[in-house]
């Protein structure tokens, strides 16, 4: 079994097996978020714009992890992250009635080189922190409780991603890194 405590973004065999199956269960996972039926109905145009921005962020993260996968072929960590963010984008699509096909190109361009570089795990940590902060900020701007509920479930998962990435970095005992999100929300 591969160690989970080294500097490599490789995860355990169990993780790899699970992540290879993860893509097909995104819809199921969304149904586990909660019983509230959220839809585009009742969302203002401002709220739809905010959700579209959040969706673009998720799609950019998915594509950035695909870039990392080109460096670390078959990395379970990057596969896991890429699949998760694709699921998040799809969840927002279902919530807002938006097609999940328009990534945030500015974000993707800004981080494309970095996510292929040597510090890519730390870059991923920073991206996850920023994404979680962005979604928490978004919750305060959404009037629809169902939309807030879905975004909260994404923010919770991304907060956990940060801890996993910190641990993969070998800094699982750095409480400033694992427990504190010092990132600022990405501005729309």
């Amino acid at each position: 079994m591969t160690s989970t405590r080294d500097d490599s973004p490789q995860l355990t065999d169990i993780d790899l097996r699970r992540k290879l199956l993860a893509g097909g269960t995104a819809a199921l996972a969304l149904t586990m978020v909660g019983g509230r039926a959220a839809s585009a109905a009742g969302l203002s145009s401002d709220e739809l714009d905010l959700l579209k921005f959040a969706q673009g962020l998720e799609l950019a993260l998915h594509d950035l992890y695909d870039e990392a996968l080109q460096i670390d072929n078959n990395s379970a960590a990057w596969t896991a992250m890429a699949n998760s963010h694709e699921s998040f984008a799809q969840a927002i699509a279902g919530l807002a009635g938006l097609s999940a096909n328009e990534r945030n190109d500015e974000l993707f361009s800004n981080y494309r080189v970095a996510i292929r570089g040597e510090d890519r795990v730390k870059v991923a940590y920073d991206l996850e922190s920023a994404a979680a902060a962005t979604h928490i900020d978004l919750i305060g701007k959404l009037s629809d409780a169902g939309a807030a509920e879905v975004i909260a479930s994404i923010a919770a998962a991304e907060s956990r991603h940060c801890v996993v990435l910190a641990d993969v970095l070998g800094k699982g005992n750095d409480l400033g890194l694992t427990l504190t999100n010092s990132a600022q929300p990405i501005e729309a």
């Binding site: 586990m32 909660g34 699921s87 699982g172």
Partner: protein, 275 residues
């Protein structure tokens, strides 16, 4: 020769008694129905000096109640961790982040108190009595008599931190004001990080970071039947029950087990409640 003598009619045999009794009751009912209302108390009479029943205050569930409930749960977790620390159940390495957790919970309580005041409510800076009696006391009792108190202290801390994370996320979906939802999830994200850290520290090297629910697989336990904590138990943040197994094996071969839950009507700290 004998002569048959007819029985004397007493004038009050059983049949007559029933007939006259029914007639009397029917007449009484008729007269009662026709009687004038003379007023007075119509409630059933009471015998003895016992106080009459005390009705519970009407508890309205609103955003202030959600905030007060989470403030009480923060204090509940502080109480739990403090007792576990006092029992010497954490290793030195664990102690460093458990101390940080307690500081985070105290800060969270202060932040919630501020949100409550801003929303026009009264802060509730003390533990949740229902959670204390239903969960914390039994868990502490089981840990105290455990065959591996260190293992159980770690499991308990993880379960209660996860409960906080689930609770904050759950309440975001039912709170009314966006600003309050934002405040709840800011604290919920921190709780999720604490939960993930404990899981990563205790089980990632053996079981990995990702839970089976990510792929719709059944929840697993370890070889001894303990629930496995994962840093990332599912693709999305969860709001379900958190299983916790602690304590020594009893005479029936089982350990104490419970399921922590997100707050509901029986856990809420209503506005009429005070510390």
């Amino acid at each position: 020769m004998t002569t048959h003598t007819p029985a004397q009619n007493s004038g009050f045999d059983r049949r007559t008694l029933l007939r006259r009794g029914g007639l009397t009751l029917g007449l009484g009912a008729f007269l009662s129905a026709c009687a004038a209302d003379f007023g007075g108390d119509t409630a059933p009479g009471r015998v003895g000096l016992v106080e009459s029943e005390t009705m519970l205050p009407e508890g309205t569930v609103n955003d202030v109640v959600y905030l007060r409930t989470m403030q009480s749960l923060e204090h509940s977790v502080v109480e739990l961790l403090s007792v576990l620390i006092a029992g010497g159940h954490f290793t030195a390495a664990q102690q460093s982040y458990i101390d940080r957790f307690i500081a985070d919970h105290v800060a969270a309580s202060e932040a919630l108190g501020q949100h409550i005041s801003e929303a026009g409510g009264e802060p509730y800076a003390c533990e949740n009595t229902w959670v204390r009696s239903r969960f914390i006391d039994p868990v502490l009792a089981a840990v105290a008599s455990s065959d591996d108190a260190s293992r159980d202290a770690r499991s308990s801390a993880h379960a209660f931190e996860t409960m906080l994370a689930h609770s904050y996320q759950h309440l975001v979906g039912i709170a009314s004001a966006p600003a309050i939802r934002h405040g709840l999830m800011s604290l919920g994200a921190s709780a999720a990080r604490r939960s993930a850290l404990l899981a990563a520290q205790s089980s990632a090297s053996e079981f990995g970071y990702f839970g089976p629910e990510i792929n719709g697989e059944a929840v697993e336990t370890d070889a001894e039947g303990f629930p496995i904590g994962y840093a990332l138990p599912a693709v999305f943040g969860q709001v379900g029950q958190i299983p916790l197994v602690v304590g020594a094996v009893d005479d029936e071969g089982a350990r104490y087990s419970t399921s922590l839950q997100t707050p509901a009507e029986n856990t809420f700290v209503y506005e009429y409640m005070s510390c």
